[in-house]
């Protein structure tokens, strides 16, 4: 991913110096190991701040929504796909955005690292070749990187962005991953077991809405949970209220979610939020042979109405 870093900087420099954009949205080094943080660059001299590595986990399309400036954005496959969805939904003006497509070899899941370290603090991490080196007080581990890659990246088939204006680095060969292997466990469960499973998972929710706020598709001006006149849904942490929140959100992003995994990464309670989304994605694929965010022209199945639709769900 590192030669891509140089190419990203070159592209950013060019865009800014030629005044093609007002701003570059990218990633810069974070303050903790395995972290980067979103940055906004409007001066050529700040371009060297831009980094590109396995920790660039924020979906930057979130920062383009509703903006009027001309912006250059560093985009992984999933970022570019959500830009496509939001563009189709008229939340991003395509002409205002220059997509610097970047190759992604899979993000590191800091939660998997945390689990591995069993409470010990990570002080330094380096990723080289296919290995990750983790250092802390009294330990030094060298482990295969693949064991710490985000689950969403393990099943991703679009590591090279399907849509971009400039491409930085070398394209990644796509692996024919079984994109729905993650939902096999869920599908094997009976409906009763699924209910128990979701109850247990969502019981931990503290309703911080990090999953919603990092999601590029959650751009509603007023989210249904924030409706106050009158209140639409309960705001407590009782299971019935949290369940409604997550289920409605799942329905709302069905057929639009690109499985960037940002929701799962953001959850401070370690809830595997993308599980339910992934199942809806599979339904869309099986029923309509549709994958979100691959095209700017194709009308999504839930965005159109056909007179000859079998409407089998109305019985």
């Amino acid at each position: 991913m590192h030669n891509a870093e140089e190419s990203i900087r070159e592209a950013a420099k060019k865009l800014l110096s030629e005044k093609k954009v007002d701003l570059i949205v990218g990633h810069e080094q974070g303050t903790l190991p395995l972290r980067t943080t979103p940055c906004f660059i409007d001066k050529v001299e700040d371009v060297p701040k831009l980094v590109w590595n396995e920790n660039c986990d924020a979906n930057l399309s979130k920062y383009l929504i509703g903006r009027k400036e001309r912006m250059g954005v560093v985009a992984k496959g999933c970022d570019a796909r959500s830009i496509a969805v939001c563009t189709f939904e008229k939340q991003i003006v395509r002409d205002n955005v220059v997509i610097i497509g970047a190759p992604c070899s899979g993000l590191i899941d800091k939660k998997k690292v945390r689990t591995k370290l069993e409470g010990k603090e990570l002080l330094e991490a380096t990723i080289e070749d296919e290995q990750i080196q983790l250092k802390g007080e009294g330990f030094e581990l060298v482990l295969p990187k693949k064991d710490f890659v985000c689950s969403s990246c393990l099943t991703c088939r679009h590591k090279t962005p399907p849509i971009y204006d400039v491409f930085a680095g070398t394209k990644v060969p796509e692996v024919e991953a079984d994109e729905f292997s993650d939902v096999a466990d869920l599908e094997a469960k009976s409906s009763k077991e699924r209910w128990t499973h979701f109850k247990e998972a969502l019981d931990k929710c503290i309703r911080c809405y990090a999953c919603r706020d990092v999601c590029p598709l959650c751009y509603c001006k007023t989210c249904f949970v924030d409706q106050t006149m009158p209140i639409w849904f309960g705001k407590t942490t009782d299971l019935s209220d949290t369940m409604i929140y997550h289920l409605v959100r799942a329905f709302h992003v069905a057929g639009r979610c690109v499985d960037c995994g940002a929701c799962s990464r953001a959850c401070p309670m370690n809830i595997n939020l993308r599980e339910l989304m992934k199942k809806t994605e599979k339904i869309m694929k099986e029923r309509y042979n549709y994958t979100a965010g691959l095209s700017l022209e194709k009308v999504p199945p839930l965005g159109e109405f056909k007179m000859d639709d079998s409407q089998e769900f109305i019985k």
């Binding site: 689990t115 809405y209 924030d226 009782d238």
Partner: protein
Amino acid sequence: MEKKRIPKLIKELTKEHEVFAPVKKESLVFFEKVSPGSEISLDFQNTTKSPKEVLFPQTEILFTYDIKKNGVEIEKAPELRKKIALLGIRPCDAKALSLLDKFFSSGDHKDFYFSEKRRNTTTIGLACNRPISTCFCTSMGGAPFGKEGMDLLLQDINDKYLIETVTEKGDKLVEKLPWLEDAEKADIEKARDLARDAERAVTSEISGMSVTKKLDGMFDNPLWDQIYKKCLGCGVCTYLCPTCCCFDVLDEATTKWKRIRIWDSCQFSCFTLQGSGYNPRPSGKERMRQRIMHKFNYFPKNHGENFCVGCGRCVQECPVNFDIREVVEGISTDIWRKKNG
């Protein structure tokens, strides 16, 4: 006290108290109600959520009521007299409770629910031998072996805990535990050494004490236009924070009417949304400014201390790695001012 006596301590405590202690769940640690025989974890850095929720739960029924033909019948508030023991609370979180005391229990705004529970709570804290890289308690007037907000403080000296009594409440509790052994001089010295080492091990230092003055007159500073940009407005920082305590009150009806209070966050868009539809904090800029100003300017002016204890939870868990240390340091050392002219 020998470490293996912890189950005995829990057993004794549960006789009179509801005991809350750190419990490991997968890779996270939470304060949970424990009973004799429960497995607790005293080998943790800090809990994922702060123990504030024991006294200030995220959803709390204030009272229930019924609407009848001839008026409203209010039922009693829930029982708050139960004694609570918070075992294993870290010094930063205990200091946070003493700050919450100031917020909830002083002046004209005494909060019955919090202060009643707080009055009935005994804190049996656990000193930090090994602060982590995101801990900045010493910059906020705390310390890894800090006693503020503690009734008793356990100090890990290898195979034993040295128990220091801090308050009368702590003394009274110790009297009920006659099986505790007297501390030896060497134990006390050992703990003193560990406290000193732990304080040195806090590597994250920021100018937390000078920030209040710097923030005076900075309400309209252009720095706020920069600071908030990457923040996505979720509630991770405020909900995990041991001092954040803003709440909303609403009525809900199921079989009966309930007046409940729930946590709220100044980072949410509807936090200051008024009935008229006007929102005095319309964007992330005003909301971020409020969070920083409340913690480091308004609260210190009203109560004499920063409303932050340096636990580092917000630093660790922010989805976009917004680091409050950078902001405080930037303001204290004029970095932001220079950056923005």
